[in-house]
Subunit: 343 residues, 4 copies
């Protein structure tokens, strides 16, 4: 992660708004080690005045969290804020010509009604951001300067089934997807809720937001359809388990027609041929295989003659599901190799 | 758990064959605290000569593991052996008129071909044992003396959907069930496999045996159909996570017809009205709610107008999924309150 | 834990004030299963109106938490309150002739100055309670009706070294004890602190209150000396690790004179001969050996010729370190076998 | 960790003998990301023919483990073998002029009798290696080409007390050190022992090798004395807890004379002024503060007027306790900034 050899290069200045949460801390770590950017300001709220080293000693960083008051001195801004708080900040940053990457859900959905239903908030209409999933929208990301970074569950699910959707291969048609995902508890943020305490969550599993999770419309939109008028039946059950990091998704897919295992596997390999961070694996994947990396592993565990697929994906919710993917998006917008600072 | 007040009662003698594994240890604990039985012999294999207190100090029991050589002195025999090893022992115990409860999969399946396919073993034909799930087959259990105790995953799945099957309510018809279950690692037994070491499994999740788990035919049989010729589509993905005990099952059920939430809930309440260990819960259940108990919690998390149900169940794999249910079966065969020694 | 066989016996009524915390929940579980008491009222504060089954579904208890307004209808009162809150309640309960067992630190210290220094509170002088460690003060407990239940760390430490102190064997003299103890996180109570969240504490260890923990004067007092004017040098470092339950103490003891291993072992065996819950073990103990039990394991790991002892103890902080010991004390005051309801 | 910007630089070739264990895997990860070395061969034993990606998918490395047959093509050799197996390999590698870093205990002890006593092995006399703790022996390491890398516990303990030893400050004299250390279970290697399984070690703590651990003579030697003829009394109790990585050491130090807190703190700051990986921290350290880093945190928690110090240290056993420190040593021998590839 050292950049000692590249000191002479021109570096882009980058700041993080909302730097003190878990995603912000991972961004801090990645950007400190990134060879072509220089970390400028770390903005926070309740932690203003504290040092990074107070909250995250492992980062080895003594910078002080500041309050954000509309500054636009940096070349690049990451926003890692609770949902709703980026709504006011993103438009002006975009207008001032900055590279902006928002990790919240505020600008992910194009359909205002769905945003309102799933986020219980009115969407600010001023900024149009590209949905930052490089494996699906690489060209759009490269051309633009504003990216809405995908959700963690959404990433693990979309990447697991994207090769099955029209535009990629015409002969395949998805009838239904039933998904259960288990997330590390860091996905709930740096929290003080009793229900997320060690004593409550150690050796525990808990499902929540069954059928109403806000990533549902995001997934449908990325797959070319919508939650309001879906082209296939989608069921999603998120869970938290006794792990800090990682998302493990089990995707049961029903196709309209019989499927050939070799053909399906080939389809996935072709779809992800240029994607350095998605690995189509021939053996079962595990959370441990991807944690602390930006990889999303995809394993096709079973294909039946009747057109039923069982796909397992794994990623690190704070990396490929948040900060890692955000840096991958930044790399693309800076016309860098998308792996820069991530391997 | 003390039985100091009931010393004067006549007690049944009970022995455990295969007492040194995790299920055997739980059986030991439960039977030591049971008011109407007396623990006679603990038979083991690799642990012969060792004391219970060497392996399981928490049990506070100094009995010595012995080798089983065909003894039939006890009134009741529990067998908690690896699959295949009860095949030879059960028939003669049954013939000698003992109460026999086998915790393995050896006598669960009536269909010999399915047994051979899923267990890779030929089934011994001499003993016919009742499938020991009290909530479905209480009367059969009470009348008999030989019970094949259900599998842990099977218990968590069958109890989650049993009220939806014919014979109980005629208007409901299940089209498909897609199930993912996460099990505690104790389900793999007292093991020395690298892949089950703490360093590999802490904060990890791993799916396995996708579509080929041996509990699949057991579940289908208990629900009145078969894996060979199923009346509904069944997909099952088992996983192990970073917990020692517990099974958490997410059951996505498709009915043939629309469903009314109140009606479904009522159906479950009626089905389990007499079942002290199945709790139909109105709020989300968690592993923590049932661990170290014999309860199986069932929560109907979602019923859609299109006939899609999302049901969550939780139980302790070593209790309601093994030793607890075995004692519940013993209680029934002894004509006791089925809760005796289990609350 | 069932008491179905003893329904005809006279039962004592018992209530818990502060029933909704972790110690209160363990008390609830133990008393529900106790053969000679009947659980009457569960008093709580923030949880008034909620059911036990809402907070602790595993207990299988539907009782409703009530507000305590000075009631004295029960025969026995347990208080499991945060430090300071029992100060006002205990005196009147004691005066009304009830059996009272207080699990807080409010009445443990006889020295008012030490109480004020370590608890930052003025001690109420009206009630004199016996220090409820049966292994040291069994006769005093049996004769009285009011017990101050020992602290969790204190129990694990006192029981590890008590046989070495005067009155028991005159030839042994302790010069110094250096102790490090690792506690399960449930010791911090049912908490919503960020620093105790799963994401912060999983796979973590943290020392705290080095040299100032409030159990220090309690330990010194129980061993016949005082923190103010100690007869030996005592250093104590408490830690929390990534476990919910259990305390594991490493006690490095320096004697004034050389020690003989066999003699020391014999000393311990004699001291604990009548103590059913202290096990002097010949092999290393572990947290897993005692968790969910009322045992305190003591292992003398090393005795050097120079008089240095290394002693390891393990207990469950919520049982022998709190609720279990409290019930043990109740049993003694009721003139019952002290194991009743605890094995 | 990417080295894309430094492709044009001359790189040293490096191979790892014993690459498939946990330390070997961490070495692989660090060396893959190191800007001035190129990973040449990965030698293993039971894993010969398997790919790194089979065992450690997170490393994203497809290299195949080979059998070591005396090759000397690389510039640098790391050995990460079980104790005893490096004895035969190190001498010839050293003689052929390679840079050699041995992570085992085979060449740490100068005293042959102590080696024999604590490792139960005869020491091979041919190679003299420098003890590779940069904070104590930086100049010796820089000048040489063969380093014996310190043990994990030894690192955490030596770094916690080194500033107190003669040669550094004459007025301080240590009389006794009592140390308890809790290690992550990865310290036991990639293991298939039942006692290290998840089911046994989750939420557990276990002490072992009390007073006989092989790091004892190593620690004494590094501090300028010996286990055979010690200048101070040293007691060491190692434990494993329910965490994968990390060592947390509690060091209770008795000085011969009274100590002044400010003076002690100043002593530590001066001693570690030039050490980028030792952080003298003013607040309590935790395992979480150092895990996945090469830092060793040292916190002086308490200094009493009587000359008693309580020092807490934390490091990652696989990094500063093994692979990270090994790379730090390599950097020094290559005359690089010792942080290269480690931040």
């Amino acid at each position: 992660m050292t950049s000692t050899l590249s000191e002479s290069l021109k570096k882009y200045s980058v700041s993080i708004i909302g730097a003190s949460g878990y995603s912000g801390a991972e961004l801090t770590r990645l950007l400190l080690g990134h060879p072509v950017v220089e970390l400028q300001e770390l903005y926070a709220f309740s932690q203003v005045g504290n040092r990074v080293s107070d909250l995250y000693p492992a980062l080895g960083c003594d910078q002080v969290y500041k309050q954000y008051c509309g500054e636009t001195e940096s070349d690049i801004y990451f926003l890692a804020l609770p949902h709703g708080e980026a709504l006011q900040l993103v438009p002006s940053l975009v207008q001032s010509g900055k590279i902006v990457i928002d990790l919240s859900g505020d600008f992910r959905l194009k359909n205002q009604d769905e945003h309102q239903e799933f986020y219980k908030q009115v969407k600010s209409p001023e900024a149009v951001m590209t949905y930052g999933m490089p494996e699906l929208f690489r060209n759009d990301i490269i051309k633009g300067k504003a990216v809405s970074n995908p959700g963690c569950y959404a990433s693990s699910i979309i990447l697991g089934v994207a090769p099955l959707f029209p535009g990629t291969e015409s002969s395949i048609k998805v009838r239904a997807i039933n998904c259960t995902s288990t997330s590390g508890i860091s996905g709930a943020g740096r929290s003080s809720k009793t229900e997320l305490s060690f004593s409550e969550m150690s050796e525990n599993i808990r499902a929540y937001k069954v059928g109403v999770h806000q990533h549902i419309p995001e997934i449908m939109q990325a797959l070319g359809t919508s939650a309001t008028n879906p082209s296939f039946d989608f069921t999603f059950t998120p869970m938290i388990g006794s792990l800090v990091r990682g998302i493990y998704s089990i995707l049961n897919v029903q196709l309209e027609q019989p499927a050939d295992p070799a053909e399906i596997l080939d389809l996935y390999h072709r779809f992800y041929k240029q994607a350095p961070f998605v690995r189509v694996r021939e053996t079962m994947t595990e959370v441990k295989h991807v944690v602390h990396t930006n990889f999303c592993d995809v394993h096709i565990a079973r294909v039946t003659g009747s057109g039923s697929l069982l796909i397992v994906t794994a990623l690190d919710n704070l990396l490929k599901g948040a900060a890692g993917q955000a840096v991958q998006n930044m790399n693309l917008m800076l016309q860098l190799d998308e792996r820069t600072g991530l391997l």
